[in-house]
Symmetry: C2
Subunit: 662 residues, 2 copies
């Protein structure tokens, strides 16, 4: 391919718009757009199979800008490429309520993932590539490649310093994701300093050690060199490709190659000087028509690609109506799991992780395209599908994902798979290690996507592994996270009910905290449970009086303990109700009337029981209440002894109730 001045002008248009946006907003990061604009131009012009007029086309190539602080460059490119982002939107960059916020957010046309916290864009791109592999193997037919796209990602020095880049790159190399192309903007400068002050890695050798195809572009401004590398990447059949593109941070600006240009807007004079150096003679936010016309092939090519695909789809629908319906139902969130699908046998005593195991097998049989994995703890979490040897390059249609001891990459991949669409998926590990995944769990919540996170070993009752493995603050910590739905089911029945509810969530992630130990099945309360769980909190066992003497609130494994305490208190003529609150978030969303019916204002003798930190309980128990919990780290030993030692004993708790309230 021969590139001309026309192409160079197009590249400079991206640069000029980006710095105009930043200088206009008095806020942003000009260094990166100035250096990486050539990559953006070539990707959109020649490689990305996208239709700007239909940004959610399911068979589009995905693009992720992992260093989200380069958002101005992304928005400028999307505008020029014909997405629904106007010049007005660009002028509103970083303004409240605009379509062009400081970091890319989901919902903006052309943005396939929210990025900002470094490393996670890369992690999500690995998940997207996994999803493409899985779905294409499940659905593609000869002559009908209904799913066949690639995932392109740009990463920065910062992304590659993050630990998640290791986990995700190692996973992608292991899975031989040849549909993944990563461009590394290698400019040797970070926000604080020259990268050489912080970093001596040989990125190429590192990615080769992971089994990637490594390519290098010595001059990131040389369009021919860049184009050649991208073509080699597109042709690679066996491995993911990592292209190191040597660039100059803040190219063209008076601060080129200095860390000061990383995060500080250019002054108006500096913008002028930069544009002169680049040979850009147009005013702020001014783009001549001939430049729009250079970009116009993107819409043309994309529309043609989508229209060709639609012909394939028509043929596919004809030949494979059942498969076709299943695929599109799943992409449109219409694939339902019926109650009858979830008919599982429940014993009188079982761990909620064991119930979950049965539910996973049952869910798999529904019309939901469902898969997931664990960070090397599937045998403990029990979150595996039976008789399934695992998703791999050789068996991409399998359902068990062996994430390895890579919690953070797992959570980011779950987000990537979920963003890709067409399947429902989960990740899992011990509850305490949710700490390792928090960054990605937050990004699931922030994007309002239905990622699922399943954690077992949800309390000190895991026993001998001791305090490093015993969650204390994890429940409260996740409850504090906006838009994250957390369930801690009390028994097998609450587990089933909350699973049913969770499967229907399409606009928020769900977290499950499950017991390692067996819990009694509360069959007697089955009706209350199936009516109550979907409200987050409910009266499990009412008092015999109209107005109870008090309320005991509990979650998870402590609910049956609360019932025992209720019984003891009743013998002392203290008649309390027991309220189970499997999900605080859900309960808090209910009407005031409903909440008042569960927790009547006049009943102020309130006690909570939960084996974890107590701070979130004050909202329900008030100043008069008492919280039975654990506000220190656990201990290694026999689970029953630990619980007794920490006071989780029905008699002791009943006594505390009496001492406090009577």
């Amino acid at each position: 391919m021969k590139f001309t001045q026309k192409d160079q002008d197009a590249v400079n248009a991206i640069r000029a718009l980006s710095v105009d946006m930043i200088t206009n907003a008095h806020s942003g990061h000009p260094g990166f757009p100035l250096d990486a604009a050539p990559m953006m131009y070539l990707l959109y012009k020649n490689h990305l199979k996208v239709n700007p007029k239909d940004p959610y086309w399911i068979n589009r190539d995905r693009f992720i800008l992992s260093p989200g602080h380069g958002s101005s460059m992304l928005y400028a490119t999307l505008h020029l490429a014909g997405y629904d982002i106007s010049m007005h939107d660009l002028r509103d960059f970083r303004k409240l309520g605009s379509k062009t916020p400081g970091h890319p957010e989901l919902g903006i046309p052309g943005v396939d993932a929210a990025t900002g916290p470094l490393g996670q864009g890369f992690g999500m791109s690995v998940g997207m590539a996994m999803a493409e592999k899985h779905l294409s193997s499940l659905y593609n037919k000869e002559h009908c490649p209904i799913i066949n796209n690639k995932v392109y990602t740009i990463v920065s020095d910062g992304d590659l310093m993050e630990g998640i880049s290791h986990e995700s790159a190692s996973l992608a190399g292991h899975l031989k994701l040849n549909n993944l192309v990563v461009l590394f903007d290698s400019n040797n400068v970070t926000l604080d300093s020259s990268a050489s002050k912080e970093l001596s890695d040989n990125a190429g050798e590192r990615f080769e050690a992971y089994g990637w195809n490594y390519l290098r572009v010595d001059d990131g401004n040389n369009l021919d060199e860049l184009e050649n590398a991208l073509q080699v990447a597109d042709d690679e059949e066996n491995r993911p490709t990592f292209i190191e593109v040597k660039t100059v941070l803040g190219y063209g600006s008076p601060h080129a190659n200095q860390h000061t240009v990383h995060g500080n807007p250019l002054t108006t004079d500096e913008v002028k000087e930069t544009k002169e150096k680049l040979g850009w003679s147009h005013g702020p936010f001014e783009i001549p028509d001939n430049i729009y016309s250079t970009f116009s092939t993107i819409v043309k090519d994309g529309s043609r690609e989508e229209s060709n695909w639609k012909s394939v789809v028509a043929e596919y629908k004809n030949n494979y109506p059942v498969l076709s319906k299943r695929l599109f139902d799943n992409f449109e969130n219409k694939a339902k799991v019926n109650d009858s699908d979830l008919n599982i046998e429940i014993t009188d005593n079982e761990a909620t992780r064991a119930t979950m195991h049965k539910l996973l097998q049952a869910t798999k049989k529904s019309s939901l395209e469902f898969w997931g994995g664990s960070a090397d703890l599937s045998s403990s979490n029990k979150t595996y599908f039976e008789n399934d040897d695992g998703f791999s390059d050789e068996t991409p249609s399998n359902l068990n994902i062996f994430y390895g001891v890579r919690e953070f990459a797992q959570a980011a991949a779950v987000n990537g798979i979920t963003l890709y669409g067409g399947t429902k998926t989960f990740g899992s590990t011990f509850f305490v290690f949710s700490d390792y995944m928090r960054g990605a769990m937050r990004l699931a919540a922030l994007q309002k996507i239905p990622s699922m996170f399943i954690f077992s070993h949800d309390s000190v009752a895991l026993g001998q592994d001791g305090p490093t493995h015993q969650p204390i603050e994890q429940l409260d910590s996740l409850r504090a996270m906006p838009d994250m739905l957390v369930f801690r089911p009390a028994d097998a029945l609450e587990m089933v009910a909350s699973w049913k509810f969770a499967l229907n969530q399409n606009d928020r992630p769900v977290t499950f905290a499950l017991s390692r130990q067996s819990l009694p099945t509360l069959r007697k309360y089955s009706d209350n449970i199936f009516k109550g769980v979907e409200k987050g909190g409910y009266i499990l066992s009412c008092s015999q009086k109209d107005i109870s003497d008090g309320i005991i609130l509990a979650t998870g494994s402590e609910v049956s303990l609360a019932l025992d305490v209720q019984e003891i208190l009743l013998k002392k003529n203290i008649d309390v109700s027991v309220v189970s609150i499997p999900s605080f978030e859900l309960f808090n969303e209910q009407s005031n009337e409903y909440k008042e019916s569960v927790l009547p204002s006049e009943v102020v003798n309130r006690m909570s029981i939960e084996m974890g930190s107590t701070q979130s309980w004050g909202q329900y128990t008030g100043l008069n209440g008492i919280n039975i919990g654990i506000n220190h780290f656990g201990a290694s030993g026999d689970a029953d002894l630990i619980m007794k030692d920490l006071g989780f004993d029905k008699n002791k708790i009943a006594q505390k109730y009496v001492e406090h309230f009577e």
Copy 2:
């Protein structure tokens, strides 16, 4: 060195004790001790400069078992080596209250770091090696090498899959930490499966890409080969060393090389069979005297080493009395920062991050050996020392640590440096990215060590960077963590007072959440502040009545807003007090009398104001109260507009108070 049957017997003694402990406890991980015992033996017998009779000798070599699930092997070795761990303790393995819990905990003689959450042991070892470099460069004199030790670490496949292994290895390679030796127990098996199902990395090439010296031992049972590699590592002058030791998981057991032997105790019959294969003919927990005698050189050599060192110290004290006092004062936590050291100039309006910046410069001038860094945000966090070019292999006595975009490695290194002793240190980044560091912050709290974590940009008031960068749930999340002291200072004065308090903490970590934006200095309340901060919460501005009409509680940047609201309400004849609670943990530790004096029970009209999730406030505001906070994600835009949009406006809040309570 010629190894004989005697050495082989010693290795088998570690194996035999380990499996006895696990089988006796019905809990533990036998696979790893069976394969890694030869490394443990050689390390303690020939390489580690330690004196089991003085396990806290400051110039000892440090040893970290990063895969903490191999604790039985560590305890067995420590017992045999002469540490204060008895056979009785070994029999009590994993029992409540024992000296031999499921994962190694700090406080057990010979345990240099608590491990269990994979990857962090490695991360802490990098911090320890950094501390040694820093202190030796500050204190060593010719002929008086008062600080000269190494750090040895064993890591597993799991540790190396974790993202933190990348961050830490990359940092260690960059810093050329030649005092660090890492042995990789390369057994190709994980808990879930054969590692080849999860992993295809070439570990050697990976570590070479980081600039490490890579060595390989083909047969982990061959003592000669192992010893040779360890000697090469000891002689390496320019780089950290990574020794890949090929081993067989569960060596000698009927399940050798299978993932089932990873985490399941052997049956009594299997133990018998294993011991037969190993040629071990002694009963459970039976160690013949000749084996103890093989290990006895460890105490002999160690005592001699320490006694030689003491001669050096004597000479050093003589020649350099001031330096010597400073060094030992710092190791014994006696180095004090006097109030006069912290005399800084405070302006009428400043961001708490700006005050912190001044405090860091002041603290550095005290007798405290003080240093720290940032994860590539020092210019934003303002957590750098002026006129200091940064800690590096060429300038190890410098104080600024450029951690790079490696938040998790930073936090683990802070823990490692703190565990090493002799200095006080901190890590920093934006508050929202505390999520990336949580695992290590938890391990600081669990170990009760005074690591310091300084976060700036503590609320949505950071503005344009938007929701991915705006903390919402981070405060509540960290408050839920046991033994973590969190401060969110209201102004420059509270910042100074809380810094003074924090510097005196020796048995818990401290976290600071600091504002990006300027805050008015509350000079008028100076006395209250300096008396109140050390109690965590206090009446900043009292009402004019004996019993106030209500209480407004706030932290950080919202405290001055609370004062404004108080003023507005007073004009409406509503006379409330304003309570500042810079640290919930500290306030909750106070006597009931004190707490009652700040928050009298009879005053039930209580409102909290804090720009974050509200769930932890219920404990203070009760069922009658109202919480002004943010329970959703933020937005990108001008900070003042965001705050107004979210209702953080004195008039609106005063109105809410009136509507709710009047």
